[in-house]
Symmetry: C2
Subunit: 220 residues, 2 copies
């Protein structure tokens, strides 16, 4: 429910998998807290709300954590993703090496001009007219948008209509799911690269200053 909380969950899961592969058998709340940058108390609180319990002395059992987190985060269901928009960024993501290790599978790309897309892609590229059938036949729930900003909104509508429930949007517009009013049936994460860079410039420019100074400048 809480964004920060869910983000911590995915971090816990990754960390726990790493620890398991290192041969750990138990782990303490303070180890976990240090690694993901929170207090041990919060780790225990999180685990407590997830009904994950440890031993008063021996910490938490790694095998148990691995198993439970895989259930909690739905690792057992197929993590298939489609990508709509096969321009430069779309094609780059198709080759992105970071997915395989997370059991996330990009299974197909869609483009309004599929024939003009390079041949050497690792996944099949279809025209937009194939989207609906593909999504329903393969029960796809999550998609990536990498179309130009002007097309993003209509592409989103199309995707939501076909049954997509989660979207990662790279187009430089802030998308909101308006199809179903406030009772939104689709979760959207916007990755707005320009906004991120602006944010960085701001932070860098004020790193050593504080607000009163900034304001004094603006009034010169």
């Amino acid at each position: 429910m809480n964004k920060e909380f869910i983000l911590r969950l995915t971090k816990y899961k990754r960390l726990i998998h790493k620890l398991k592969s290192l041969g750990f058998e138990r782990v303490f709340s303070n180890n976990l807290g240090d690694a993901i940058g929170v207090t041990p108390a919060l780790v225990r609180k999180d685990f407590s709300t997830l009904h994950l319990s440890g031993n008063k002395r021996g910490g938490y059992n790694i095998d148990m954590l691995v198993e439970e987190f895989d259930v909690i985060l739905g690792r057992n269901s197929p993590q298939n993703v489609i990508i709509v928009g096969c321009g430069r960024i779309g094609q780059a993501l198709m080759q992105y090496p970071g997915f395989a290790s997370d059991d996330i599978h990009l299974v197909a790309g869609f483009d309004k001009a599929p024939d003009s897309v390079n041949i050497d892609n690792p996944i099949p590229i279809f025209g937009m007219d194939k989207l609906e059938n593909f999504v329903s036949e393969n029960n796809i729930k999550v998609g990536i948008i990498t179309v130009p900003g002007e097309e993003a909104s209509s592409v989103l509508d199309k995707m939501v209509d076909t049954g997509i429930r989660g979207v990662l949007n790279f187009a430089p517009v802030e998308l909101k799911c308006q199809k179903y009013d406030c009772d939104c049936k689709c979760v959207i994460h916007n990755v707005n690269i320009g906004l991120e860079l602006e944010h960085l410039f701001y932070q860098v420019s004020t790193q050593d200053t504080d607000f009163s100074i900034v304001n004094d400048n603006s009034k010169k």
Copy 2:
């Protein structure tokens, strides 16, 4: 200082520029709140902490806001960015159309094998050995990392050494700036696409459920 606050600032700025281009002369806190999804009270609070004042009856003057936000967000200083790692994602970003409109300029790319990078890039590509001089000569403060995960950490160190103060990281590892202990001289934003997708899968899978149900399942 607060992440959410800074994000709102960039949204205010974009919105205000849009309103100005539409011919607006004044705007009220409730308009702004509706558009960026916060309460009017928060808009007034934000503006108040920024020492931006309006008229009790007539709202806020758009021209004043445009001017002040450009100062606050440093629009007046050059927004030059370099990119380290000229693989697929790096090259895709070089052609990204969303930057120009924000006065953000990608000015150069760096790669350990610059000769193997495609010729038709819109910006010059240099070897890593040129990084330090370029950054100091052009007074670059912000860079993008698009190298493979294994190289990200050492690339970051190199960038911080040359004087880069803000980094947008696309490598699939969570980077922290450790060079200067806790007194961190470099702000880092991690865009972890795999983590985002996992997060989405989790949200989609629990969209209609609540925690007690999730937990019951996990105990089956």
